[in-house]
């Protein structure tokens, strides 16, 4: 089994009304069901964290820009580490991620252990 980092990306929502409490709860349940399903297969390594929408990017020459975006307009909303036999399996697991239903994406990357 290898470990894979799942990076959740989403366009930063602008001008959209915030979700209602019921919508938030429903979204939360969907995420929990997805993560719970991975954990139930004993394939969850680290639930990871969510990231705040604001941030800064530091570039050479002491240049600091606002916002976490480097070159793409989608920002990283969070990450999770899972265990899977192959990149294909990790990708298959990611296909059920609730972020896809709201236009986001999951980047799947194999983790190379440090010696």
């Amino acid at each position: 089994m290898n470990e894979f980092l799942l990076i959740f990306r989403r366009e930063t929502p602008a001008g959209q009304p915030p979700p209602s409490p019921a919508q938030s709860q429903e979204m939360m349940n969907q995420w929990q069901n997805w993560i719970g399903g991975i954990a139930a297969q004993d394939k969850l390594v680290n639930r990871g964290n969510r990231l705040d929408a604001s941030g800064k990017t530091v570039k050479p020459g002491n240049i600091v820009t606002n916002g976490p975006y480097v070159d793409i307009k989608e920002s990283i909303g969070g990450y999770t580490i899972i265990r899977a036999a192959s990149l294909e399996e990790a990708t298959e697991i990611s296909k059920n991620c609730p972020i896809l239903a709201v236009g986001g994406s999951v980047e799947v990357r194999a983790i190379i252990p440090m010696d």
Binding site: N29, Q32, N33, G36, G37, A39, Q41, D42, L44
Partner: protein
């Protein structure tokens, strides 16, 4: 009360107190001596009370005899004398004063300290539970062997090795420093939890013994609650969990001692007082933000004390299992989560998730799939129940699976 009724009761309640106090006094170096003195004391009681009748205060009588025996031994044995004599001199022991302090408070303190020593992380969990049953609960070797579905020889060996290990590692019988209590408490709680589960879920047919194991686990947990240093939220949460589970003791077995499934139990037999107690301790456990495995399991157990099958109930249970699995994985939790998913979101969704679990050598896995396919695909349901039947370990389980199969075939 007659001697032959009272003595076994006193053995259950007092043996462990005497061992804890004497063990604390002599240290792990001489733990067997503490156990020998305690056993001897009861032997003398059986003889003396049989001839002379019960003393006025049997417990005080036992303590006095145990204390005198300890003192005799110390006086007789030069090795002991060299080691302990200074403390006797400085302590100013006189013949009127008991040599060993068997006051309530000292007994409680000794038991608590012994608990931390016996549950030292240097020992494997099995060894911890074995020692806990022997030293903290006063169980006989045969009872421990029964509880573990093992034999005398194996248990004796296990206990012997555990004692050796504690001696080699020079584990002292005392409360860990307060900075370490949280960490060390974890292994104490694990032992209590396993002890309870051993009683609640084991396949031993001896229902009385199983109930005893559960009660002992709760008693040990209460010792932790009683002391302000160890009364932490997870301690309360574990106690709440055990209260909720044990509230179903009377409802979960029939007159033949066979287990009755949760959904077939007569809920009027559920113990309302234990459920209330569980709620009290679960509230108490929630005084800080910290959420342990025991908090979540207690909350799941709480929802099970509500008989009616509402969507709210199963949605809550599902979400709790989701969180539990993120803290700690176990096949049982994975299967229970899938069952809750079926109840909350329907069988179709649950089948997809169940088949990902691939716990193919676990008969509960096939039982679950048998249940999920029932009403949707009878051939598959039968197939899974037959696999479950082949994998099941006890007659009780096989009997139950056959009943489900019969219902499908009709």
């Amino acid at each position: 009360m007659e001697t032959n009724e009272l003595l076994p009761q006193l053995f259950r309640s007092e043996y462990r107190k005497i061992v804890a106090v004497l063990g604390k006094h002599f240290g792990f170096d001489q733990l067997e001596i503490a156990e020998d003195i305690a056993s001897d004391t009861f032997l003398v009681a059986a003889e003396t009370w049989g001839i002379k009748g019960l003393p006025e205060n049997p417990v005080a009588w036992l303590y006095k005899v145990a204390s005198n025996k300890a003192l005799d031994l110390v006086r007789r044995d030069t090795v002991f004398a060299n080691k302990i004599a200074p403390s006797i001199r400085s302590g100013g022991i006189t013949s009127e004063q008991p040599f060993i302090d068997l006051s309530d408070q000292h007994i409680k303190d000794s038991q608590l300290q012994m608990m931390f020593a016996v549950c030292h992380p240097t020992l494997a969990p099995e060894a911890q539970i074995g020692l806990a049953l022997r030293i903290l609960c006063g169980f006989g070797i045969d009872e421990i062997a029964d509880a573990f579905l093992s034999n005398r020889e194996t248990i004796n060996k296990r206990l012997f090795r555990a004692r050796e290990k504690l001696r080699e590692e020079n584990i002292s019988i005392e409360l860990p420093p307060s900075a370490e209590i949280g960490l060390r408490l974890r292994s104490v709680l694990t032992t209590i939890y396993l002890l309870f589960n051993e009683g609640y879920y084991s396949s031993s047919q001896d229902m009385l013994l199983r109930r005893d194991l559960c009660l002992e686990a709760m008693r040990l947990n209460l010792i932790l609650i009683d002391n302000e240093n160890t009364d932490l939220p997870e301690v309360d949460a574990l106690f709440a969990l055990m209260c909720f589970h044990s509230s179903r003791f009377d409802a979960r077995t029939d007159e033949k001692g066979e287990l009755i499934r949760y959904d077939e139990q007569d809920s009027s037999l559920w113990n309302a007082e234990l459920i209330l107690r569980g709620q009290y301790y679960l509230n108490r456990a929630s005084r800080e933000r910290e959420l342990s495995q025991y908090h979540i399991e207690a909350a799941i157990a709480y929802w099970h004390t509500i008989k009616s099958d509402t969507p709210e109930k199963w949605q809550n249970i599902l979400q709790l299992y989701n969180r539990l699995l993120q803290i700690v994985y176990s096949p049982v939790a994975a299967l229970n989560r899938t069952f809750a998913l079926a109840k909350a979101n329907g069988k179709q969704e649950a089948i997809k998730e169940a088949e990902k679990l691939q716990l193919t050598d676990n008969h509960f896995y096939h039982c679950l799939l048998g249940y999920l396919y029932t009403g949707l695909d009878t051939a598959k349901a039968i197939n899974h129940l037959q696999q479950a039947l082949a994998l099941a370990k006890t007659d009780t389980e096989r009997g139950r699976i056959r009943k489900d199969l019969d219902n499908l075939v009709i």
